[in-house]
């Protein structure tokens, strides 16, 4: 059973025991339940539980998303629910995104990658792009078959890859990022409503320059005079007329079902890894891929500079303030006086719930992570559909990747477009146009059937099943294999 693998060796430093009860007026109204005695399908769907607040103490992103999905599906249609959780380092892509475009899989698949990135950053060896830690650096590279194991005992310096069920773009989570999630009836759903709730919570913590922007994200406006040494700014910051720089601190995504709506969002509080986001989230394959579905919008990010406990406390208080009337009604009905329980969820309790277990299994499956990818095409050269100029190709690729005019005009059976093109549907290569092996000096004349070996060997492959492209492309195309390994983050 997958859940048994959840480790109790997780770093405990950033978990506070209970909620930071810093403001007396809030403590009046809240009772901290130390374990989730009441967390079950029956309890969450009870009409007497119309306002529910949970804080998960698991750091497993698959588990936390599955708790959330369980609440979305099982909670009473009229109820309003807040769930807060903090994940160990992971990259979370949107439901309809392409991991080969969004994520530098070669980096992300390395054990202890964050440790390596920090080390190379501290030693001053920082360079641009994926040159900082190459795929064949000293980190142990995992073959896809080992990933299940890796996920099971992921340490704090690994980065997990997660595909969530909601829409939107790719985000990075770690222990310095708290996620909030509000599940409510569709009638009261509004894309900004609960982002505004979080803004009020932040403002209450003296973070005044935060607001919800037109993309339903929460951003922080930094006046020109304020020094920016409290955080790592990635990408180029936006400058407006007043010299105010704007940073994203929180991203939103939504899931709508027949009876319920879910809004969840991140909030960067104190992540030490912001410096590395552009490396982790920049795929070397992206310039070659034209994908259907959703592409991320890059934004400069920054930490708010709060502890997780302060933030959780403030968001819970703001949520209860919003739904106070409903909460009071519920309490009166239950014969209680003044408290909405904040339930602390831990792994041992929720893993007994069959729906949560099934949800985790689905989210962790490579089928969900990879084959849910919308169709895309990979083209080594510009095409009519995707005319972007491509990066320079490795010079050791076969000559068919570098056609000359003479070759085009002189040979009747020359491919109209040079290089390699693949159509990938549900993670599987369904069509290939591969270069003909015309390197006469090395191969001589080939039989017509042999000329398309590359295409034949690539067709029907699942991208995420390929440990090492060199084993599929044949020795005469080893350079192609190395190139594909680098682009798709395979090989060792």
């Amino acid at each position: 059973m997958a859940l048994r693998a959840f480790s109790s060796r997780l770093p405990a430093a950033h978990y506070h025991s209970g909620i930071g009860l810093t403001k007396a007026r809030r403590t009046q109204r809240r009772l901290i339940i130390p374990s989730s005695r009441f967390f079950s399908a029956e309890a969450v769907s009870s009409p007497s539980n119309l306002v529910q607040v949970y804080i998960s103490r698991s750091t497993d992103p698959y588990l936390n998303l599955s708790i959330e999905h369980f609440l979305l599906q099982k909670s009473h249609p009229d109820s309003v629910i807040l769930l807060l959780y903090t994940n160990r380092p992971c990259i979370v892509i949107g439901r309809n995104q392409n991991p080969w475009v969004e994520v530098n899989l070669g980096l992300v698949n390395q054990r202890g990658i964050l440790r390596q990135l920090r080390a190379s950053s501290e030693s001053g060896a920082q360079e641009e792009g994926d040159a900082v830690v190459k795929n064949d650096a000293d980190g142990v590279k995992n073959s896809p078959k080992e990933v299940e194991v890796r996920e099971a005992d992921a340490d704090a310096d690994d980065v997990l890859l997660v595909r969530r069920r909601s829409g939107g773009g790719t985000v990075f989570h770690d222990a310095g990022n708290v996620n909030y999630s509000v599940i409510c009836p569709p009638a009261s759903f509004d894309r900004d409503k609960h982002a505004e709730m979080v803004v009020r919570a932040l403002q209450g913590l003296r973070k005044g320059n935060v607001r919800v922007n037109e993309r339903h994200d929460i951003v922080l406006d930094v006046p020109p005079t304020q020094p920016s040494n409290t955080s790592h700014d990635v990408d180029v910051t936006m400058n407006n007329m007043d010299g105010i720089r704007t940073f994203k601190i929180s991203g939103s995504a939504y899931k709508l079902t027949r009876t319920r709506s879910l809004h969840h969002g991140t909030c960067l509080l104190s992540s030490p890894h912001l410096l590395f986001l552009s490396q982790l989230l920049r795929s070397p394959a992206a310039p070659y891929i034209k994908a259907r579905g959703v592409e991320s919008v890059r934004s400069p990010v920054r930490n708010v500079g709060l502890s997780n406990a302060e933030f959780e406390d403030a968001v819970v208080a703001e949520f209860l303030r919003m739904y106070e009337d409903a909460a009071q009604d519920q309490l009166e009905k239950n014969g209680q006086t003044s408290k909405i329980d904040v339930e602390i969820l831990d792994e041992t309790v929720v893993q007994d719930i069959p729906e949560v277990r099934a949800g985790i299994a689905e989210l962790r499956s490579r089928d969900w992570i990879y084959t849910q990818t919308p169709q895309f095409t990979f083209s080594s050269h510009p095409t009519a559909d995707d005319p972007r100029p491509r990066p320079d190709l490795p010079t050791d690729l076969p000559s068919s990747f570098f056609p000359t005019n003479a070759e085009h005009s002189g040979s009747a059976d020359a491919a109209p477009v040079p290089g390699l093109r693949m159509t990938v549907r549900h993670g599987q290569i369904t069509e290939v146009v591969a270069p003909l092996s015309k390197d006469s000096e090395s191969h001589g004349a080939k039989t017509p059937g042999g000329e398309n070996n590359l295409a034949d060997s690539l067709k029907n492959l699942y991208l995420h099943h390929v440990d090492d492209w060199r084993t599929y492309v044949g020795s005469e195309n080893e350079s192609v294999g190395r190139w594909l390994n680098r682009l798709f983050g395979a090989g060792s």
């Binding site: 309809n96 069920r165 829409g167 569709p186 709508l256 027949r258 579905g293 959703v294």
Partner: protein, 208 residues
């Protein structure tokens, strides 16, 4: 699609005056209809749209009663769910077409991706038929009736925005989601759905 219903409030232009010049038969929702068709090239308008232009009465709210059993060119009857899907049942009640309503398409905002069902998929009413993504929101599309999918609208994979332009067009180039075959249970389910008049009243009530 339920969540789309009353919640994803988009800012809508005042359209009353334009509506008066855009009489239409199948409109479920006034502002939406104007946007849907004003952004569509005329060549993309379906037979339905052409009928709508020819319909004589200016305010759809008042005309629906006369038309709610209207059939399109093929003799189909259209009904709606509270979750804002529509289903056409063909004349011999063995097959149909499913899509999302103009109201839903408007409320969702720009659709950027459509997840389509596999051919052969068997569904009961309320099962997830597919999903659409718009403005960071993944929304389920549910099957209005028990049915078996015979074809999905593959064109939406390349042009998901068609759903915004002509969501209730069941012709080639339209925004329909799936074609289905229907059995006894499907016909029974169909009976319980809302006709246009009822749906219009339903979406009208959700507006306030």
């Amino acid at each position: 699609m339920a969540s789309i219903a009353r919640c994803l409030r988009a800012v809508r232009p005042s359209t009353v005056s334009r509506l008066a010049q855009t009489p239409r038969m199948r409109s479920n929702w006034q502002a939406n209809s104007v946007r849907a068709f004003s952004t569509s090239p005329i060549s993309k308008l379906s037979d339905v749209a052409i009928l709508q232009i020819q319909a004589p009465t200016p305010l759809p709210v008042h005309i629906v009663g006369e038309y709610h059993t209207a059939r399109n060119c093929c003799g189909d009857i259209r009904k709606y769910t509270k979750e804002h899907e529509w289903v056409d049942l063909n004349a011999d009640q063995t097959s149909g077409v499913i899509g999302i309503s103009e109201y839903a398409a408007e409320e969702l905002g720009d659709v950027v991706y459509v997840e389509l069902p596999e051919e052969g998929k068997e569904l009961v009413a309320g099962d997830t038929l597919g999903a659409v993504e718009s403005v960071k929101s993944a929304a389920d599309i549910n099957s209005p009736i028990a049915c078996t999918v015979t074809a999905a609208n593959i064109a939406l994979e390349d042009k998901p925005g068609t759903i915004n332009q002509v969501p209730e067009d069941d012709s080639h180039g339209g925004g329909w989601i799936a074609k289905v075959t229907i059995g006894e249970q499907g016909r029974k389910d169909f009976e319980s759905l809302m006709d246009l008049e009822e749906y219009k009243a339903f979406t009208g009530s959700q507006e306030h």
